[in-house]
């Protein structure tokens, strides 16, 4: 598939839109369907698409292995950090009410950050799993 001109051009056109859609899903999750999981999965799908068209090694240059592995851990840590922030400001664990002077704004802020953490981890894990499976295939050939 690497040399198919049509695919390469269309892929180049499509991927920004997929990413844009992911951002929409991520940040509009409060008002419509969507949220961190779905956004993370969509970003990962864009990455898989990219790797299929341009080859695994090119994809790995765009999003290197070490970065992906750090993403996996960073998302969970971000989530936990929000939890600890709740403790720090005098609430219980994962208490968002205390994150802002106004409890409603605090809730909003907490939800925003944890959704981000979820998206990062989900995206990282899915991309990493794809890399590993694809890599195996190349090793066998």
């Amino acid at each position: 598939m690497k040399n198919d001109m049509v695919l390469r051009v269309i892929g180049k056109l499509l991927i920004p839109f997929i990413l844009l859609f992911a951002l929409y899903v991520q940040f509009h999750g409060d008002y419509g369907p969507g949220g961190g999981f779905q956004a993370g999965a969509i970003v990962a799908a864009a990455m898989v698409f990219y790797a299929m068209i341009y080859g695994l090694s090119t994809a790995r240059r765009v999003l290197p292995d070490a970065l992906v592995e750090s993403m996996i851990a960073a998302g969970v840590l971000l989530y936990l950090a929000v939890g600890f922030a709740g403790l720090h400001f005098g609430g219980n664990f994962l208490d968002y009410f205390v994150l802002d002077a106004d409890p409603v704004a605090g809730q909003h802020r907490g939800i925003f950050w944890i959704e981000l953490g979820v998206a990062i981890t989900v995206c990282g894990v899915l991309v990493k799993i794809f890399y590993l499976f694809a890599q195996r295939g190349q090793d066998q050939e």
Binding site: Y31, G32, P33, F37, V122, I129, R136
Partner: protein, 126 residues
């Protein structure tokens, strides 16, 4: 209590039984995982169907609607889906490794290979 008021459960029941049957009866490791995924999907329906109210709308609060379907089962099933795919990924990784070590993904064949006495001697190399 009549048959048709529960048709949602019959669908779920059928899926659960097929899934379970595939897992237990089939020897192919990948097919087992597919069966497992079907079994899990049936659970999603078990949770989701009671939450639906006919005429209600998705639980996104807006001034123009008054009846919403129950949001809690949906949250639980979101979690369950993610757990399901995590299990599937780990299972497939195991299958790939098994295939590399045994050159087979049939349960019967793998068990036969393990009975091979030559295999015990491998432990002899510290």
């Amino acid at each position: 209590m009549n048959f048709f008021s529960h048709y949602d459960y019959w669908v779920m029941l059928f899926l659960a039984m097929s899934g379970l049957f595939i897992v237990i009866a089939r020897g192919n490791l990948i097919k087992k995982l597919v069966g497992l995924a079907i079994l899990q999907t049936s659970v999603y329906l078990l949770y989701l169907t009671p939450g639906k109210i006919v005429g209600a709308t998705a639980p996104i609060v807006d001034a123009s609607f008054t009846v919403y379907s129950n949001p809690l089962p949906q949250v639980l099933i979101l979690t369950a889906i993610v757990v399901g795919v995590a299990t599937l990924a780990l299972g497939l990784a195991l299958v790939v490794r098994i295939r590399e070590e045994y050159d087979s993904i049939e349960e019967d064949e793998i068990l036969r290979l393990d009975l091979d006495p030559a295999d015990d001697k491998r432990e002899a190399k510290p």
